[in-house]
């Protein structure tokens, strides 16, 4: 097929659940590509000699190669190709912001729409899983080295997957009762079915990764003790799990839940299946979610599914919203209302200490601030009240201080993140590496996985040579 013909094919849409139906259930929103759709979409790829898409991928997936395999109908082989670089393709195919990564670099995107790389990735991974043809990669000879990975989130799982293949012995320590980190407690079922996470984690187990759940490093054991007790290197991937509140009056009223709590109840604890599951769901009539990121979208969409009217309040304008365009679109399609340029001032409670309303103020945009986004300025006298019974601040998270607090020689920044060499992800402590949100502050799943790959490479070098060399050229990081 010549490129001209390829360019004529339109970008294939992924069938998805009707918003009128899905806003009341926790089933996954998109159904995924059918074989036909995948074959058609794969034909759109021009298989560029210098694939720019790969420069947009934090984990360097060989994108044209896996798409070519799909085009040839070798779906399982495509999945195996993906797994050479990415141990969790079914996850990243779903939650990566492809529009600002690989797909943003696709040459087709210059004039028309880019190849749906994410959808194809998801298709291949799902195909492999449902076919049950899981190929275990060749694992190098045991090196006799032991690595402790702290936190079974995207970064930790990636590090574990890469290092086990290189012949090292890997143990993951996870504080919660289920591995997956934000993939199980944060991202809702309707965006990432937990069954998929469980499957990917089981794959790592099959590779030989040991996972100790219910294990809080920093409490049950410190990093120093791990190093003393037989681990040759430690990777810290504990993420950003300390919710930020706004410090406005009324934040401790009954009915104010951090997005972490709101989502964890539903996702990890399965409160939507109460009373079969013991954890109580948050039943509300009207939920105000504060924030404009993906977590705010997840919370607001969960609120709909729990039977509430759902409103997002965001202080800047739509253009500044950090959430993925697709998530905002999905949320609105399902019936989430978004009030932009609106900032909460205080939360008002009743005599029983329960939320009854929230007072907000209108904002306008001023000059750009340090983040490059235009700074919101309150408009005096524009205060107004919205009645509601639940408020969910989704304002982001700070790194969990547990490990830095219990590891004295680990240097942290003033934001509480770990100081690392940006190229090797080595921390200030010998043999200790870190990656993901604990280093960058709250970011994305794929950036954590990208960091996991970098760290795994450094750890491997450290374990085999005793030192870590800085790469000559900077690894492409996706965004400039």
């Amino acid at each position: 097929m010549d490129p001209k013909e390829r360019k004529k094919i339109p970008r294939q849409k992924m069938p998805e659940q009707d918003p009128r139906r899905r806003r009341h259930n926790f089933e996954e929103v998109p159904y995924g590509f059918t074989e036909e759709l995948a074959l058609t979409e794969a034909k759109r790829c021009l298989k560029c000699k210098k694939p720019l898409c790969m420069t947009g991928c934090p984990v360097n997936i060989r994108i044209p190669e896996f798409i070519k395999l799909i085009e040839e109908g070798k779906f399982i082989e495509a999945a195996w190709k993906l797994k050479e670089q990415n141990s969790l393709p079914a996850v990243t195919g779903r939650v990566c912001p492809q529009e600002s990564q690989c797909e943003s670099k696709c040459i087709l995107g210059k004039k028309g729409e880019p190849v749906a790389i994410g959808r194809l990735e998801r298709f291949a991974a799902d195909f492999e899983r449902s076919a049950g043809k899981i190929k275990l990669p060749d694992i190098s000879k045991p090196t006799g080295k032991k690595v402790a990975v702290i936190g079974a989130g995207p970064a930790g799982l990636t590090v574990a997957g890469d290092l086990i293949k290189l012949g090292h012995q890997v143990t993951i320590f996870e504080a919660l009762h289920e591995p997956g980190g934000v993939l199980v407690y944060g991202i809702p079922e309707f965006r990432l079915p937990k069954e998929i996470v469980r499957f990917e984690v089981d794959y790592l187990r099959k590779l030989g990764v040991e996972i100790k759940t219910d294990y809080v490093v920093g409490k049950a054991n410190t990093v120093d003790e791990l190093l003393r007790n037989g681990f040759d290197a430690v990777f810290i991937g504990t993420g950003a799990g300390l919710p930020i509140f706004m410090n406005i009056p009324g934040e401790n009223l009954v009915g104010v839940y951090s997005a972490n709590e709101y989502l964890t109840r539903s996702n990890l604890m399965k409160a939507f299946r109460f009373p079969e599951y013991g954890t109580a769901p948050i039943r509300s009539k009207k939920v105000i979610t504060i924030g404009g990121g993906n977590v705010a979208m997840d919370s607001a969409r969960t609120a709909l599914r729990l039977g509430a009217e759902s409103i997002i309040v965001y202080r800047r304008s739509r253009a500044e919203m950090p959430a993925r365009a697709e998530e905002i679109h999905h949320a609105e399609e399902e019936g989430v209302q978004i009030k932009i340029l609106t900032n909460p001032v205080r939360i008002i409670g009743d005599e029983k200490g329960k939320v009854k309303s929230i007072e907000c103020i209108k904002m306008k945009l001023g000059e750009p601030d340090a983040s490059g986004r235009r700074r919101p300025i309150p408009i005096k006298g524009s205060e107004f009240i919205i009645d509601c019974d639940t408020v969910v601040p989704a304002l982001g998270n700070r790194p969990n201080p547990l490990i830095p607090m219990t590891t004295p020689d680990l240097k942290t920044t003033r934001w509480g993140t770990l100081e690392c060499d940006p190229d090797t992800l080595e921390t200030s402590k010998k043999g200790v590496f870190a990656g993901g949100d604990i280093v960058t502050g709250a970011a994305t799943v794929i950036s954590a996985m990208g960091a996991g790959k970098v760290a795994a490479k450094s750890i491997h070098e450290y374990l085999t040579t005793g030192k870590v060399t800085k790469p000559e050229k900077q690894t492409p990081k996706g965004e400039k």
Binding site: A220, F245, V254, T264, T279, P281, G353
Partner: protein, 841 residues
């Protein structure tokens, strides 16, 4: 009957010959206190509260057993009578776990804790589901009893949760015999009676068998007539006393029995007989199952219409419009409607009229349950469906099987529960029913019974007659503009459309034996919806049950499980990592099963050598009950720890460690560490009464002085921790640091006192938590100006600065859900060796 006249309290009172003095007084509006007496029961004379003085008679006869006689002069109140009655009440309280009556803090306790705790065993009033309606309590208050000279005895009888629907705690029984007498009166041969003698006398079944092994019909009369919390309705008990009661009719089977719905916050939380008589008998379905149907977690609470993808939630208007639109295309004999035998006369009339006049069809059928079979009559309708003659069906329940369903083109369902029809239904209308509707019902005795709408239906749900009328109106057919069922009945009368044949009585009668209880409602197998019915009829899905039974092997093996004192459980668990690292004041998070909540428990003891930790918990709801019901040799699904900050162990000087309830265990490691750090340690153990004191030996061994304080003064000082601290201050003790662990209410009171005296006080927080590592923020506590996370900044926080009211409000955030989460399955008896071991000493 001759009328007689007597004088009561100086008033001339008329009575009938044969009346007792009590009856004569009651007729005249003169109140005499009673407990064993009940209007539905024969005089008994057991409780001796109704004693009076009668001129010419010696002593103090009981008015309930003394016949009124002409010219009698009766005194119902005198200092002697009052004194005697007080003593009677006190003796009853003595055997009734009553320390709350004599507690110095009762008033503020009831203010801050308006609802009782969901305790497994009632060890005092604040743990009793019957607190608001306890007749003994009301009498004690009326007689202003706030001191007992007699000891309070806890009988330590096993709480019986083995039977469906009801819990029995004979530790609260005052032997009034009302239950046994009403059982005999209603069923002729009673199931329960007094067993044993003397101090061992109690109520029970013959040979103490479970009620399921007797001919108990589970009519619930014993529960409803019990003046105390000894017998309780497992489903309804924690909702509290009903706001009001409404007489209505049960329509699940053709008997159409009268019953009273108990309404709380608009919900029907219970039902009972309309009178305590044999004639007013009801079966277990009426008494216990109806409320569980209306409040069932499986109940459909929204209307749905089909789009390409499947059913989606829709407004009532949308659903009605869609149904009307679809039915337009199916007029004539291609339409059928299947109603159910539990519909009211008005509903049946409207449904028939709709079939005939709107749909122009003769295919109206009625589904009735006969034992474990469903019958659709006339059979021709089902036949026609199976032959493909009928294309559209309006069904009021889950009556036809998938093969028949397949033959249909259009399906409209009006129902309460998920149904096999949903797979292909075009419209699902969630209906209001049972206690939520009114109308009339022709029962099998040919009597017209009345239904009253007592409970508020879920938002935007309507009864079947209204749904059908709205569809008919939407289809543009007149004659369906009814606003009330009264209007429908009027038309039925006008059209002479009410000469209906009474349905057949079920044989054998469900009133006679639980084996013949109705098994279906609207085609749904009741045992699939109400788990306790499994005792009488097998549910369709047995797999679910199996899943519950199999507990997986995990590293967290339970080494020992003892009930130390009533309702207080000690669990020792294999957890070497936690045991190795834990410090005094730290906690763990446990999930007993894979579907359990994550619940924090303070570590009460640990053994680094054997790698075990010990938790002490009170059974106060679903999750703590799961832990309390574990056995040695079983496993916890998950256990994480140690979490939280340890207490700051150093030399302070004099350290007070005070604890109550679960906190008695929790203060042990702190006391031990403080003692080892060279402090003078005074431990204060608080309990409601002597029978709840425990670990005195363990505490004594780890402190310089152990102060015991009980709310009833039955051992040690009388009062709470604050009284003990006041005593210490008064004797000149300088307290340099205090650690207080127990319920929030107690810690609040102690902190108030500590503030007054400027004692640095650390209190152990026990708020709601999810992860326990700082991630969810559910455990936020306001400490002064700051917000602290109890899980990472605590659990010990500065008691002098805590916003206690906010903390209590936050702890109660899921009060309703916690009640709804209470398991309804019967619990097997504790095995021997796990029975309550009351540790004295």
């Amino acid at each position: 009957m001759t009328e007689i006249q007597l004088t009561i309290e100086g008033r001339k009172v008329k009575a009938k010959e044969g009346d007792t003095v009590l009856e004569a007084a009651q007729k005249a509006g003169i109140k005499i206190p009673t407990l064993c007496a009940h209007p539905a029961l024969e005089p008994y004379g057991a409780c001796r509260l109704c004693i009076v003085e009668i001129e010419g008679m010696r002593g103090y006869p009981t008015s309930c057993t003394t016949p009124a006689a002409e010219g009698m002069v009766v005194k119902t109140v005198s200092p002697e009578i009052i004194e005697l009655r007080k003593n009677v009440i006190k003796l009853m309280l003595s055997g009734h776990t009553s320390p709350c009556f004599v507690c110095l803090h009762r008033e503020s306790c009831e203010k801050y804790r308006p609802r009782s705790f969901k305790a497994g065993k009632v060890t005092r009033c604040v743990f009793c589901s019957n607190r608001d309606t306890c007749e003994l309590r009301m009498l004690a208050d009326e007689y202003e009893i706030n001191d007992l000279e007699v000891p309070i005895i806890y009988k330590n009888l096993e709480v019986e949760q083995i039977d469906p629907f009801m819990d029995r705690d004979y530790n609260l029984c005052i032997l009034c015999g009302r239950c046994a007498r009403i059982c005999e009166k209603i069923h002729e041969k009673g199931t329960i009676d007094f067993i044993n003698r003397g101090k061992d006398a109690r109520i029970g079944t013959a040979f103490n068998r479970p009620h399921t092994d007797t001919d108990c019909r589970f009519c619930g009369a014993c529960v409803d007539i019990c003046p105390t919390g000894a017998m309780s309705d497992r489903f309804a008990k924690w909702y509290g006393a009903p706001d009001w009661v409404q007489e209505s009719t049960c329509v699940v089977c053709p008997l159409g029995c009268s019953l009273n719905f108990k309404i709380k916050d608009g919900k029907a939380i219970g039902a009972s007989m309309s009178a305590f008589s044999r004639e007013a008998r009801i079966c277990a379905i009426g008494r216990f199952v109806l409320p569980q149907l209306l409040n069932n977690p499986a109940r459909r609470l929204s209307h749905q219409v089909r789009i390409e993808d499947g059913l989606i939630e829709a407004s009532y208007k949308e659903a009605v419009e869609r149904a009307a639109g679809i039915l337009e295309a199916y007029r004539g004999d291609q339409f059928a409607l299947i109603a159910h035998s539990g519909a009211t006369r008005e509903e049946i009339y409207i449904l028939k009229k709709f079939t005939k006049e709107v749909m122009k069809s003769d295919n109206f059928a009625l589904a009735t349950a006969n034992g474990d079979k469903l019958l659709i009559q006339p059979a021709s309708v089902l036949d026609a469906i199976n032959r493909g003659k009928i294309k559209a069906l309006y069904s009021l329940g889950d009556f036809i099987d998938p093969i028949s369903i397949e033959k249909l083109e259009a399906i409209i369902v009006a129902d309460l529960f998920p149904s096999r029809l949903e797979k292909t239904a075009d419209v699902f209308l969630a209906a209001a029913a049972l206690a939520e509707t009114d109308g009339t019902f022709l029962n099998s005795q040919g009597k017209v019974k009345t239904l009253k709408a007592a409970a508020t239906p879920p938002e935007n749900l309507f009864p079947d007659w209204k749904i059908v009328c709205d569809i008919a109106k939407k289809m543009g057919v007149s004659g369906f503009g009814f606003r009330t069922t009264g209007g429908i009945l009027k038309e039925m009368k006008k059209r002479k459309a009410i000469d209906q044949e009474p349905p057949l009585s079920p044989e054998p009668s469900p009133l006679e034996h639980v084996d013949s209880l109705p098994q279906f409602y609207r085609g749904h197998r009741l045992s699939d919806l109400v788990c306790a019915l499994e005792a009488f009829m097998p549910p369709e899905e047995i797999e679910k049950k199996k899943e519950r039974e199999e507990a997986e092997e995990t590293p967290f093996r339970i080494i020992e499980k003892i009930e130390i004192v009533p309702n207080t459980h000690m669990v020792t668990i294999q957890a070497p990592v936690i045991a190795q690292k834990c410090q005094p004041g730290q906690f763990v998070i446990a999930m007993v099963g894979r579907t359990s909540e994550r619940i924090p428990y303070t570590i009460s003891d640990f053994d680094r050598k054997s790698g075990t930790i010990t938790l002490v918990t009170l059974e106060l709801g679903r999750s703590s009950r799961e832990l309390a019901n574990t056995r040695a040799g079983e496993y916890l699904a998950h256990l994480t720890g140690p979490l939280g900050k340890p207490v700051d162990v150093k030399k302070y000087g004099t350290v007070v460690c005070a604890g109550g309830c679960y906190g008695v265990g929790a203060m042990l490691p702190i006391a031990r560490a403080m003692k080892q750090a060279g402090n003078r340690v005074i431990c204060i153990e608080e309990a409601a009464s002597h029978y709840l004191l425990h670990w005195k030996d363990r505490l004594s061994a780890n402190c310089d002085e152990l102060v015991i304080v009980t709310k009833d003064g039955s051992e040690g000082l009388k009062g709470g921790v604050q009284e003990a601290i006041e005593m210490l201050i008064q004797r000149g003790e300088k307290i340099d640091q205090a650690y207080v662990i127990g319920c929030t209410f107690m810690m609040m009171l102690v902190s108030e006192l500590a503030k007054k005296h400027g004692i640095p006080t650390q209190t152990a927080m026990n708020p709601l938590m999810l992860d326990g590592t700082g991630m969810c923020g559910a455990c936020r506590v306001s400490v002064g100006e700051a917000t602290k996370f109890a899980c990472v900044d605590g659990p010990f926080l500065d008691g002098l600065k805590i916003n206690w009211i906010e903390l209590m409000q936050r702890q109660a955030a899921f009060k309703t859900e916690e009640i709804e989460a209470m398991p309804q399955e019967p619990v097997p008896m504790h095995e021997p060796g796990h029975a309550c071991l009351t540790a004295k000493g």
